[in-house]
């Protein structure tokens, strides 16, 4: 067997099925007698429903909210002080609060026939003024998204740590910036999907859902349908991309599951792209005002910040409204040694879809704010942007470092990452090129971003329980079982939808048991197999799920060694488990022989054998505040001041995610994240008109990066093991997406600086770049 444990660039086991078209996504599953559901959606952003009428003769196949007997609205109300709840109705009740909100469900023999039914449903609306701008939303006299509220604020959080007054008094430089990160849609290639089927024999409902979180989906369906968890089995098969979108429980899945129970036939719903672009325009939408107070050398003493998120109409489950803006304050100091932070986080309701965490959660916006601040500070102090960062980054000798917001940065050398990025991008050469000027007249700009990524949060007060949410993640289970032919089956609660867990968890098993990864099957995405664990998000799975796999495999060594020793007629203390065998003083036995003894020939087992047999069940509890990856991004752009076009000429990433299980897959995560980040920075925006009509309802209007948008990025790894995780692993799933908006904005602004222009809004489209140049010209 070739070396296949932790650290190897093993090619993915899962590739084979996808390369031959044998993947199985929800839409690939068809059950006998299956019906198809489609949803009637609100054409208005804000309106009262005056009356409804079902198509004559087809009433039994059309459902409004009142028909869904026993179904409760989706409720997600954390115990943040002052949080206003906003139930998310499965189908609209009384009012519609965003364009695209589901109003009715129609069910028929084919999706096309169901859509024909939609055409004949009549709904009379009384349109209302829409709340579309978060700043105007909090002004007195603004229309209200929820009639029973006194304003449009879900919650306001205040945060004040360190001696802020002292910092402001001591400051020699005070710089302020305002940044806007506009609304986006996650845009996985596969949209949301579900298929529900009721088994009359077992009275169990099996729901196939395209989800990152099978167990939470089961819990949520149980709550909102009002049926026991034991009657619900959620299967999440292959999932065609998710990026955070598929962590929340949507009303459609609740309605479809209800329909399968009510109609006694399987019902499937496959979201189309229009529905995704309109109803899932549900991420980012941040605004920041950030002020930095620094001494004469540019050492930051304090940060003052306003962080706002337009979080849409409802609070989704399980991640409530408030998480996005609420993530900002405790991260606003970034990877820097800052001793005072004051912040206010505003979560505002509007007539848009409810905001969900998308790759990076709020941190691409937070990084955008603290990194544009660092460049502004460099400008004020008169030094290179990387220099100002080196003066402020937490130093390796300070590790583990407790931030002023009480996060424990576990390990690493942040300045070294920045120095390497500086070297790789060759700052001297870029500055020389800038001075020379380009033959085509474009302006060259250089930008950096430094940040940490908090991964695999734990349960405690610095992890998830601080949010006061209903479903606190943190523990992850794994079961490892040696089969009768000496191979391994591993069950986990985390889900894989591109991350390659089937490969990397097999590598982890191989590292511990010496078994060939080809002889390991990973099972996941089925609540009848993986009965606990909360799924895959916040870059947690390799650390938490992988940690559980490592623990289970270690535990499994004991019964393997025991039986092996008995077969070898050796003492327990004399044998060693490695390379898929048990070695004694005289000879060895294979796992197959041990499996055979347990399953087929109990007469050969030691008399006092553990009746648990060759199965180990383990859990893994991530360290309270998680483990911290970090990164330095450097980018060179060319800005065409006539057309406003931005071209990325060079991009470098220095990344430290601790011990890498599989560097090839780490790079895949980073590059994929970078592509999303480039879309965030330059291309992607869910645009609305002032009445709340979505203007980005097709992929011709919503621009996703293509192959030509992504440069040949260069990646350098640093590998500082975390002291707090198995093998020293840290998560890396979101990191690539966090830095690009900040780094690219800094590069664009570096290019525009001589013109006096600055742009602090994403995406930095040609139109916005030209507007910034024009505004600078008018100011002069």
């Amino acid at each position: 067997m070739a070396k296949a444990g932790v650290g190897e660039r093993l090619r993915r086991k899962e590739d084979e099925r996808f390369l031959y078209g044998r993947g199985q996504y929800v839409s690939d599953i068809a059950l006998p007698g299956m019906l198809h559901a489609v949803f009637l959606r609100s054409p208005h952003a804000h309106a009262r429903i005056k009356s409804t009428r079902k198509p004559r003769g087809r009433e039994a196949r059309v459902f409004f909210a009142a028909d869904l007997e026993g179904v409760k609205p989706i409720r997600s109300s954390p115990n943040f002080p002052g949080f206003k709840g906003a139930d998310f109705p499965v189908l609209a009740v009384g009012k519609v609060r965003y364009a695209g909100e589901a109003v009715a469900m129609a069910v028929a023999e084919s999706p096309a026939a169901a859509e024909d039914l939609l055409r004949d449903i009549e709904v009379e609306y009384e349109p209302l003024d829409a709340v579309m701008d978060m700043k105007r939303a909090v002004e007195p006299g603004s229309p209200r998204v929820h009639d029973e509220w006194t304003d449009n604020v879900f919650c306001e959080m205040r945060f004040d740590v360190g001696d802020f007054e002292a910092a402001t008094k001591a400051a020699k430089h005070v710089v302020t910036r305002e940044c806007r990160m506009n609304r986006q849609t996650p845009m996985p290639l596969e949209g949301r999907a579900c298929l529900a089927s009721h088994d009359r024999r077992t009275d169990e409902v099996t729901v196939y859902v395209s989800t990152q979180v099978p167990v939470p989906a089961q819990i949520g369906l149980s709550s909102f349908l009002g049926i026991s968890q034991r009657r619900l089995r959620v299967i999440s098969p292959d999932v065609g991309g998710a990026f955070g979108l598929k962590t929340f429980l949507d009303g459609e899945t609740v309605a479809v599951t209800w329909a399968a129970l009510h109609l006694g036939r399987p019902v499937r719903w496959i979201q189309d792209r229009y529905e995704h672009l309109v109803c899932d325009a549900n991420c980012r939408d941040h605004w920041y005002r950030i002020t930095g107070y620094a001494n004469a050398e540019g050492k930051l003493l304090g940060i003052d910040c306003e962080a706002w998120c337009d979080t849409g109409a409802y609070s989704p489950w399980p991640w409530p409204a408030g998480i996005e803006a609420g993530t900002a304050p405790s991260n606003m100091q970034g990877p820097y040694d800052v001793q005072a932070v004051r912040a206010r986080a505003m979560t505002v309701a509007s007539n848009k879809p409810p905001v969900q965490p998308y790759r990076g959660v709020a941190r691409p916006g937070v990084c955008f704010a603290h990194e544009t601040l660092m460049d502004a500070l460099a400008l004020a102090v008169g030094c290179e942007p990387h220099e100002i960062r080196l003066r402020n980054l937490v130093r390796p000798e300070q590790m583990p470092y407790r931030t002023v917001s009480k996060k424990l940065l576990d390990s690493g050398d942040y300045p070294e990452a920045m120095r390497r990025a500086v070297q790789m991008i060759d700052v001297t050469a870029v500055r020389a090129r800038q001075r020379r000027g380009e033959p085509d007249g474009r302006r060259i700009g250089l930008g950096f971003a430094a940040f940490y990524e908090q991964t695999a949060y734990g349960t405690g007060p610095f992890g998830y329980s601080a949010w006061g949410i209903e479903l606190v993640p943190g523990l992850e289970p794994a079961t490892a079982r040696l089969t009768g032919d000496g191979e391994l089956v591993v069950d986990v609660g985390v889900h894989s939808h591109g991350q390659g867990h089937e490969t990397i968890f097999a590598q982890i098993a191989s590292e511990i048991l010496g078994i060939d990864p080809e002889k390991v099957t990973l099972r996941y995405g089925d609540t009848s197999i993986s009965t606990a664990g909360t799924g895959t998000y916040t870059s947690r799975s390799t650390v938490s799920g992988g940690g559980a796999v490592a623990t289970a495999c270690k535990q499994l060594k004991a019964p393997i060694a025991r039986i092996g020793a008995h077969l070898l007629q050796a003492k327990d203390s004399e044998v060693e488990v490695r390379d898929g065998r048990v070695f004694g003083p005289k000879g060895s036995v294979s796992f197959a022989e041990i499996g055979r003894a347990w399953y087929h020939h109990p007469e050969e087992l030691p008399p006092n054998v553990d009746p648990q047999g060759l199965t180990a069940v383990a859990g893994y509890k991530a360290v309270d505040g998680g483990v911290f990856s970090y990164s330095a991004h450097g980018v060179v752009v060319a800005v065409d001041t006539d057309t406003g076009a931005v071209e990325i000429l060079d991009y470098v990433i220095v990344e430290d995610c601790g011990r890498m299980v599989n560097p090839l897959l780490v790079e895949g995560q980073i590059i994929g994240g970078l592509a999303g980040g480039i879309g965030n920075a330059l291309l992607e925006e869910s645009v609305y008109d002032e009445r709340g009509q979505p203007l980005s309802a097709t992929l011709a209007d919503y621009h996703v990066p293509g192959a030509s948008s992504i440069p040949d990025v260069r990646i350098a790894h640093m590998e500082t093991p975390s002291p707090f995780s198995e093998f020293g692993m840290k998560g890396v799933g979101e990191s690539g997406a966090i830095g690009p908006p900040a780094a690219i904005a800094n590069a664009v602004n570096d290019a525009l600086c001589p013109l006096g222009a600055e742009i602090l809004e994403t995406p930095m489209t040609p139109k916005r770049v030209l507007a910034a140049i024009r505004a600078a010209r008018e100011r002069r």
Partner: protein, 164 residues
Amino acid sequence: MKVTLKLNGVETVGDVEPRTSLGDFIREHERLTGTHLGCEHGVCGACTVLIDGRPMRSCLMLAVSADGREVRTVEGYEGDAVMTAIRRFFKECHALQCGFCTPGMLATAYDIANRLPHADRARIRMELSGNLCRCTGYLGIIDAIEKSLDHIHGTDRRTRKEAS
């Protein structure tokens, strides 16, 4: 309506509604679910199949328009040396993650491999403009196609072009 076409080399007769797309016919009538529908408005390219040897969107074409034509899906490359190489390098270069765009990417890659033996990275990028991937950031896909071209047409394929 009746439609007769050659699907992965097999003469296939279907009875479809006039509005049934070729993509739905392939997936729902013939149960060849390797072809994925990503946007159903001709942008994302996940549904790309070969029609008479050329990559086309199966979501934009009606099943009845495929009457009399040859359609090849991801399930239809058994024993094909070019596709075998492309698949090998897709795996080698980590050119896929969730796998949803992969069948369409393979169809486009197959077309590049046969039509553009001299393609460089810039040309490969341009040719991929009709296929979106949300996971990989494309670099693995570009690497895989470049390596496939080298393997199929020789590593001196670029210099030979310049010489000719």
